[in-house]
């Protein structure tokens, strides 16, 4: 069933359609919220908030953009609002448990290493890095979302990349035949 059909039925409150949309896009929503949050527990809460916002606003969704695009933006905005709210409280840094790691140098282990490096970045850098390098937003879009200049977004991105590279250190990351090799630049 297409997104349009599911959305049409979901607008009437049909639970099966709401659940189908959830199943289709929950991993995408959870991923972007998790990476922006940098924290599993917060990610669960904020992802739920994102879905609630989306389903509450569904009657006003007119299909001018693809549902997936609209939902992605709702998820990003929800996470960013959560971050702004959290900024008033103590910052929690995530320590991902070791038992999530797979065998050494497995793709799962390498992805986890990357996720850890992202999560360990300072919040401002992490937001820009996730929005630009993971989610593909432009600096102009990021500036608008975060209320900063596009040039500031660029500056934060380059710092974030450098810091991430530094945190990965001399660890060789064989990914699809390529390797990250430490060097003293």
């Amino acid at each position: 069933m297409t997104d349009d059909e599911l959305v049409r039925r979901a607008k009437t409150g049909e639970e099966a359609a709401l659940h189908a949309l959830y199943r289709r896009y929950a991993p995408r929503v959870h991923a972007v919220v998790r990476r922006l949050a940098g924290d599993d527990a917060l990610a669960e809460d904020w992802a739920q908030e994102a879905w609630l916002r989306a389903f509450r606003a569904l009657p006003r969704f007119r299909g001018e953009a693809a549902f997936s695009t609209w939902l992605h933006r709702v998820a990003v905005n929800s996470a960013l609002q959560g971050l702004r709210s959290r900024a008033r409280h103590e910052v929690r840094e995530t320590v991902l448990p070791d038992d999530q790691a797979g065998p050494p140098e497995s793709p799962a282990t390498l992805r986890l290493t990357l996720e850890r490096a992202v999560a360990s970045l300072p919040e401002g850098m992490r937001q820009v890095l996730v929005l630009h390098d993971v989610e593909g937003f432009t600096h102009e879009e990021i500036g608008e979302m975060l209320g900063i200049a596009a040039g500031t977004s660029k500056s934060q991105l380059f710092k974030a990349r450098a810091k991430m590279r530094e945190s990965l250190g001399s660890r060789e990351m064989a990914t699809e035949g390529k390797a990250y090799v430490a060097s003293d630049a």
Binding site: E15, L18, E44, L114, R161, M173, T175, K178, S183
Partner: protein, 219 residues
């Protein structure tokens, strides 16, 4: 020789180097390797997979959606609604199964809305009229929803070739399931129980017929 900073190299992942940077990169293998590593890091980030939420995420979300009234539930609210729904389901399903058994030469059964059925504008099963009589607005709404479920099933069943015994059996299986759901709502209700037993008997008769045991004609 002064190397390029990591931030400068991180910028060169997206942007062209200026003349000084380009000259340095041409002569410095270390900076070229670091730029390559940063480029790989950028590509790896762009291809990070989606992440599955926890197994409790949907139940929690669904509960909240229900609290906020954003979900239209199919659950029947009471015995009266269950009786009315079961009566209408059987009324429709009897017609559907009969239609499937007879084939397309006979006219299809009437597919009236519950209010019209109860109002006598179409052939009325006495059980339907009895169940619908005195129903409240809420009950009628629930019954109407159940009617739509039955209608969906009827339409799905009639998409199959009329003489297809498997389709006939499938239609009856749907009736059994529906009456079982109604019985779940009101486990001690005698009317629903009788409907369910009747549906089971008819389903079993078709099974016997299909297995070559003969027996009385269905409906």
């Amino acid at each position: 020789m002064s190397h390029l900073t990591r931030e400068a190299l991180a910028r060169l992942v997206d942007e062209m180097p200026d003349e000084r940077e380009r000259t340095h990169l041409e002569s410095c293998a270390g900076c070229r390797a670091e730029l390559a590593a940063l480029t790989d890091q950028r590509q790896a980030l762009a291809t990070l997979p989606d992440l599955e939420p926890g197994p409790d995420a949907w139940p929690a979300l669904r509960a909240q959606l229900r609290r906020e009234g954003l979900v239209r539930e199919r659950r029947l609210p009471g015995v009266a609604a269950a009786r009315a729904a079961a009566a209408m389901v059987l009324f429709l399903a009897g017609g559907a199964a009969g239609y499937l058994a007879r084939g397309p030469a006979d006219p299809p059964p009437s597919l009236e809305t519950p209010s019209r059925v109860a109002g006598g504008a179409a052939p009325v099963d006495p059980a339907v009229a009895a169940a619908a009589q005195g129903a409240t607005t809420d009950v009628e709404a629930s019954a109407s929803e159940a009617f739509m479920v039955a209608l969906d099933r009827y339409m799905a069943a009639t998409d199959a070739p009329p003489a297809d015994p498997a389709a006939r059996l499938a239609a009856l299986e749907n009736i059994v399931l529906t009456t079982a759901e109604a019985l779940h709502e009101a486990p001690t209700d005698p009317i629903i129980s009788s409907y369910h037993l009747s549906a089971l008997a008819q389903r079993n008769a078709v099974l016997r017929q299909l297995s070559g045991d003969g027996g009385p004609p269905v409906f």
